[in-house]
């Protein structure tokens, strides 16, 4: 620290302060972006006439050598050098001599770290988008496989109406399609360059910030140096988008846990995604789904930490912002692991079609259709709802499903219910096909939805 931070040396650094100060164990994660940003900055200094051709070549060469050293595991990280930036700069000076000390001209750690974080976040968001697309396509594929698997749709975890499994899987897919949209929008907003904003008020050297921004693949230089160095809403936005994604994955996880119970028995995870017990030899637990739910808690905690961290911070940079890295890194790690694991688990899971189909037989699932039939005969829906409610109670008294009520009981309630044409109201397959509105579970509609979703996911792959 002493060389880098120059004149104002502390005479003693307490151990705790040292640990608080030292971030290299965490922020070494940013090494690649730090080098990438430094190379662009060096070229910017050269274009501005601050470095000559030989200097910029030495610096870029040195940085590329460091990148190789890190990539190959030969780089020695030194906690005494506090953070990733000083570790790399110190090594650069080892390699190229005093010219290394020119790299930080017109730059501050404040615009440097903001640049690194944006580059890293961009990379990780792209990575997440790719896995999301994989999950999307796996869901589309499984939905296609299960197009003929009927099952109840549930509300309140109660059997509600006849539906099909592929319709349910396509619902999962819709959620993550919007997750994709949120991450994509965040990406567009964060892809701006802080470099050249200096500590807070820009730099006096005539660096062409737009050109440096383009070299780094950014869409533009950020418009205000105070904002560029002191804002982290891109991290809050990513944290929130990942938390929402986590909520969605945990909803899928919850259904997998419940569907894996002996009582439901709808799904069976492959052995690679379930685990056994240290005490109970018979157990096969849906751990992947539980871990995904658990990761979701972390994702919500990370989003919360990022929001709280920035609340009421004065401009420009404050050291509080050092603490943005752990929740950010943690959030991407949790999201990526969950996505990968869930994708594998869903791809390899087996659905028990017979049990899914059998679940249609209890629960009076035809009740809405029977009421609708009465509506078609002119009865207001509210009255029809009331009539069918009475029939359900009668069926329960008799210990049968509504569909099994004898004709005379139906006729007593309403003659129209006992006609031959009325039978289809009691038939779950007919009921599903009748739900042929856009977005409904009728076979043709789900096939359309599958085709549409496949095309969308492939277009963004």
């Amino acid at each position: 620290m002493s060389v880098a931070r120059g004149g104002r040396l502390p005479n003693a650094v307490d151990q705790a302060m040292h640990e608080l100060n030292t971030s290299v164990r965490i922020d070494c994660e940013l090494w690649e972006e730090d080098i990438q940003g430094s190379i662009a900055h060096a070229r910017g200094l050269s274009a501005a006439g601050v470095l000559n051709v030989s200097e910029v070549e030495q610096i870029v060469g040195g940085l590329e050598q460091i990148a190789a050293e890190i990539r190959e595991g030969r780089f020695v990280w030194d906690e005494a050098k506090e953070d990733v930036h000083m570790n790399i700069e110190a090594r650069l000076t080892d390699i190229v001599g005093p010219v290394g000390g020119k790299l930080h001209t017109g730059r501050s750690r404040n615009d440097q770290v903001a640049t690194d974080l944006r580059l890293w976040s961009r990379k990780k968001t792209h990575e997440t988008l790719a896995v999301l697309a994989e999950l999307g396509l796996v869901l589309v594929e499984r939905a296609e496989n299960e197009i003929d698997t009927l099952m109840p749709a549930y509300t309140h975890l109660q059997r509600a109406q006849p539906s099909r499994l592929s319709h349910h899987l396509m619902a999962w897919q819709e959620l993550i399609w919007r997750d994709r949209g949120r991450l994509w929008d965040a990406l567009g907003r964060l892809n701006e360059s802080p470099l050249g904003a200096g500590a807070v008020a820009g730099t006096g050297f005539p660096i062409d910030r737009e050109s440096v921004a383009r070299e780094l693949g950014f869409e533009r230089a950020m418009r205000n140096s105070v904002d560029a160095t002191g804002s982290r809403d891109f991290l809050m936005e990513l944290g929130c988008a990942l938390a929402i994604l986590g909520v969605h994955l945990s909803r899928i996880g919850e259904e997998i846990v419940i569907w894996s119970s002996q009582e439901f028995g709808f799904i069976r995870l492959s052995d690679a995604f379930a685990t056994s017990s240290s005490m109970m030899p018979q157990k096969k637990n849906p751990d992947v789904a539980e871990l995904v739910r658990g990761k979701c808690a972390r994702l919500i905690g990370c989003a919360n930490a990022l929001l709280v961290l920035e609340k009421s911070l004065c401009f420009g940079y404050g050291r509080d912002l050092q603490e943005d890295k752990r929740p950010l890194f943690d959030a991407f790690e949790s999201a990526l692991l969950s996505l990968h694991a869930l994708t594998g688990a869903i791809r390899s899971a087996a659905f028990d079609r017979a049990r899914l189909r059998k679940a249609l037989d209890g629960g009076h699932l035809c009740a809405t259709d029977v009421a609708d039939l009465l509506v078609r005969h002119g009865m207001p829906f509210r009255e029809a709802h009331h009539v069918v409610g009475g029939l359900v109670r009668e069926a329960e008294t008799r210990g049968v499903d509504l569909a099994e009520l004898p004709a005379e009981a139906l006729a007593a309630a309403q003659p129209a219910l006992a006609t031959p044409e009325a039978r289809s109201a009691f038939d779950p397959e007919a009921a599903v096909e009748r739900r042929s509105v856009v977005g409904g579970p009728a076979r043709v509609r789900v096939l359309e939805a599958i085709a549409d979703a496949r095309a969308r996911w492939q277009s963004v792959r």
Copy 2:
């Protein structure tokens, strides 16, 4: 409740259960959207041949009458009718008779409330965008007024480098510009119609969902009925976007509180935005800024509640979702109040230009420029930083600012510092002008930024 919910009546409803169940005190907020959605649904039923022309006219007429009653304060809300939907439907049946009972054909409270929430959220987001634009333009205007007010830029709440007030105000403006983008993107994603999705699995009546969607100003019918009724990521996304906005407003609030202290004395709120004390007759407190910080805590809490609410929920609709309304309504209320109040406070505040300017005189603010000068003479920046660090210590020993060091002290450190050309490195105004990179505080750059921002905000007004 008994009439509406038909056959399966509870024989006793415990008081607490009643209070848990009854949401009308909260969800009456949705009345306008509920009527709007019901009118569109009635027309959809008519187009599908379920209602005839006379029926749809009676229903629409009845709903419009109810709207008038509510608008004029003549409507009697009845807690026994549980929620906004049943209050309106029951009144409709009062007005139009049994035909009112036909309105709920092919619809469930699940798609109905999802529709209401999307319509309401769309309305409130537009309202928020409008106030954001007002704040944006107020900031642009104040920045223009203060174009010649110099002040230090701070990092770590320590004076850092010379800058100008308008540059700082434009940083605030950049933050809320991105807040605008987030809300706008959320708006695009939520503007889809759940209507026709029924309870969870669509409806068997041939409603043209796309046409109903268009009537309500939605871009499309939602693609999956399970998703349409059981997802609330649009609320999580809005909650998060408003929380991020709240963090930004609380950062502005924090600076106003600090700048209002006697010690800083940079800003003076107008009396309308400050309050006095019940005990201390002399007090004038920057309450508006503190309340905005406080509201930010609520906004973070609301976003958190919305995320937690949905975590691990099974599909489709679960009653947990009743609890999404209070945090949603609370979030928009908190955000809108904060925006309005802060806009008024900033518009009417007085800046103390003399004190802002005077703050440039302490804190050795020219240190970076002096180091940069040495760099221009060929010294590596790291070495220059070290040299200037020594000069700062010397200045402190002498009890003067770095800019006041005598020429011989400068010359002793580095002859180049004592030349006449070097003087501009010690001059704050020259220092600000030298920071003329894009995004820097030089006068011309800030004027460009003001023009650019004004055009952007006006284009979205």
Copy 3:
């Protein structure tokens, strides 16, 4: 506001600022405590010689009259008077004339509101403790009723080992016993008097703060005036304790939802605690359990808001603290409603003993006991676990439960398993009784636990 706040009147109050400022719609909740605190303060002023006997009698009489007016619904709350304190003080002056203006001597709204909040929190915490005890005793009673109902214990929502329903219900009870402890500890910590701390630095009038504290039932006067007016950790602590309680209630709610599914069918809520559907005439939904889960999200959001609100606040009082009331009130309301409703639901629910018992028959629940049997024959547990794992696979291949494997299959694996003495290892009832360690599900242990818990709850009732 104008009269009360005296000299420094704002010349115009913007509408939004008015709404931000005006808290009476929220804080009128504190009216009883405000009057209680004012009476004690008036007596304190009298003891200090600041008010004479007649004055204190007039003031106390006036305050008691106001209390009666509010209690009987005759009090007119006026938003122009901003908050509960000024509404009451203004009415007092109406009633008693200028002597009313003496009440606020030696007091500030800062110590006044801190006192009100502590009194209110104390009252509500006592109320919560009482309902908790009711729930505890209901659980104890239901556990006693179900002492002979066997069921599987689950881990990962997979059937794990034989157990009994009353053991499970007693687990629920243990959680809320600790919730009780947390609230009790919070109560002890908050029961201190801020009164006399003034705005921030105490008062110059010789009020005997300890005596006033005792009059209000506080254990002591707070030791530091800055702390007394500017700290709200008692609210954070209550918010957190209620959030943890909410997590526990939502865990119970989750089990009720799952147990109410047709697939599990373990519990049937009474009609008063379930609701039907607006579209589906057959539905009976476990709404109470879902609403409790939903309230838990709010409780977590409230705790979060309270923590975030205070983060980084300077001392003493800041107006941010106005925002502590809504999350506090909301948290107690949510917790109390959830507790009441869940208590009623559990008291009136029916357990399906046959289905619970039948669930023991699948899932190879004897596996641990079989492995333990091998251990008793000297095999290391890890090896026994392995052997039984093989037997489970064999049972699955044969399509039977482990308990149904023929003797020869057992003998082949391990002769000891096929002996008559070994049979009890395959018997679920014997398995439960064998688990007779302290805290285990053996009948005698659970009866002991029931007796112990009943005594504990009764002692704190």
Copy 4:
């Protein structure tokens, strides 16, 4: 994993699933408690007759050898063995042979990890309490040093009334005293033994759970095996208590940041607790205080994650709970670092007594005392408040402090103000001394508070 988990081997473990599953990088933190718990369990098995003397000696000897290996850095952690428990058990079997496989008799990873977590939490809470006491005593000491340093008390960050620095420091101390109480109460509640609860339903071996509990220093065996293995409210409670502590430390941090600004200039951190800038050679930043604020955001995020994690979890153990470790470990690390660093920073900071004293001269700080004087002359406080408000406006018009108003101006407002006896109302030192109620800033009261606090902290050291 294959050996340990016995028969049901996955045939392929996906990389992501492996990473999700593998917790040893995190939970190796628990090694000491895992060995401690295993030794107690082995002795329990021996007392129950399950292990003979030779076996228990081998096992305990092996475990102690492992402890030595880990302590000396010679232990090789193997990710393939998944977690800390299997790493240690596998090494035990290496050392002692098959008898090692007997250790897990009557135990599950579920009660094992619950025990480890309680032991670890107990250790870390004691460690935190010790550092808290150190901070408490440092504050007491600094308060004693600064007993004669006058300064304004602030509300809304506005100068409010005359006070003294030691009174302010003692307020900080009061907050952390209650933090101590919360941690202490949590400690009492968590100090119970889950061991013997098995996977969820206890164990069939006759282990004396109470005796094992005592060996581990627990107060009792937990009363219910389902609760013992599936509850983590002790972690939620610790997470919340640490978050509240974090809020308090961040409030202190906020004041240090503001007091370190050139504008306030009240405090100067020693060089060991401040840092410089990579760009600006003159900077000395109060990083320690900012990092503490930043850590507080993490602490709130951790508490939130722990609450969310458990929401709606079914009993017994679910794999979600694996995710409780990172937020727990992170919370204690953040709290301990913050406490250590802040303690060092406060101990070594210099207060600028002259600037603190000088801050009394602006802000009309005598206003309350002047109003009180009028009250002593019989004027109702509300009227006195109004009169003094007018005098403050007059002082501002004249550009002087209220204390500097000429006698004639005072006399014009109220003759009593212009008498010689009235002068003390305008004198800040007299004002502080007049505030001699319990908990007030008068010298004698603060000295009493210091003595009381010192005795309390020493008694718990």
